[in-house]
């Protein structure tokens, strides 16, 4: 594990029809366009004409988080990042509220990530592209969570 401060520019070298969405059970080679309610998948729009900094900005938080955990691993031992990752995963696993009702409350996650005293654009535009009218419907979410 290395100390990266610049996020990876994740240009995929190969894509297939299920790279940009979950496969449909009835047609495993394609994205489920009835569920996503976005119409047929336009892969060209997801690959071409992207801003050069988009991947960097999208991966920024995750990269900084990983580097911080790697720093703690070096200084305090492997237990430190493992404990912190465990706590975040516990919160993700136990905090459930359907996206159609607003999604899970971010209080626990904010406290763990030390963001409870700050307000950023992510707190105004919660959830990115998967919010507002583009929410996953309740059944899909529940199926995913329970593992059906």
């Amino acid at each position: 594990m290395s100390l990266r401060i610049v996020p990876e520019n994740n240009k995929t070298s190969s894509v297939n029809t299920t790279t940009f969405g979950q496969a449909a059970e009835h047609a495993p080679g394609l994205q489920d366009i009835l569920r996503t309610q976005e119409g047929p998948l336009n892969m060209a729009s997801k690959l071409n004409n992207r801003h050069p900094l988009e991947a960097r900005i999208a991966n920024w938080e995750q990269t900084q988080h990983d580097t911080r955990l790697e720093t703690y691993r070096r200084v305090f031992g492997a237990g430190e990042p493992i404990k912190r990752t465990m706590e975040l995963e516990i919160v993700d696993a136990t905090d459930f509220k359907p996206s159609v009702l607003g999604g899970p409350d971010s209080m626990h996650r904010d406290i763990l990530m030390n963001k409870d005293t700050t307000v950023d654009w992510e707190d105004v535009y919660k959830g990115g592209f998967e919010s507002g009218i583009n929410v996953k419907d309740f059944h899909t979410e529940m199926e995913r969570k329970v593992g059906i």
Partner: protein, 217 residues
Amino acid sequence: MNGISVDINHLKKGEVNLGTSIMAVKFKDGVILGADSRTTTGSYIANRVTDKLTQIHDTIYCCRSGSAADTQAVADMVKYYLQIYASQLPFDEKPTTEVAANVFQEICYNNKDNLSAGIICAGYDSKNKGSVYSIPIGGSIHKQDYAIAGSGSTFIYGWCNENFKQEMEQDECVAFIKTALSEAIKWDGSSGGLIRMVILTEKGVERKVFYPEDYQK
């Protein structure tokens, strides 16, 4: 192929450049770091009184050259790392310059495709006394008695080699750095302004500034 080709576009578009002259010298009681104070964006001098000597820990400093943004980000990261590292050391123990320099090296090497940062890390610790480490672009690490870097350093290699002495006194070392940087500033267009120095010894930190009227001959 005639001659040596130099890539002058190595900075990303629009970036602020620390075209510079920096050096660090080990002397009898510790180390002294020195730098000019000019930051340029192309031919515009964005800051004529820049402080390129950044504190990493109590008696560990670094000189920055290359892209201003990159070096600030890396220096912040190393400072953060050293704070955490120092917090778990026994009460009266301080981090060594070697640790700081190696963290610099690791970050510069692992991010080498996206960074243009040339750094000299120098400091005083009670175990090793003064030490100077040079981390050029690419992320290699070199422990030296004195190090020079930046665009202005190319003009003073010969003079420094002839005039450096081991175990100099503090005044001798200040004069050595002042003359060296004054020559570098004289010949290099991207270096200028003040000469800033930081003296790191057992007593702590002392900062010095020399104005053009003091060092120009």
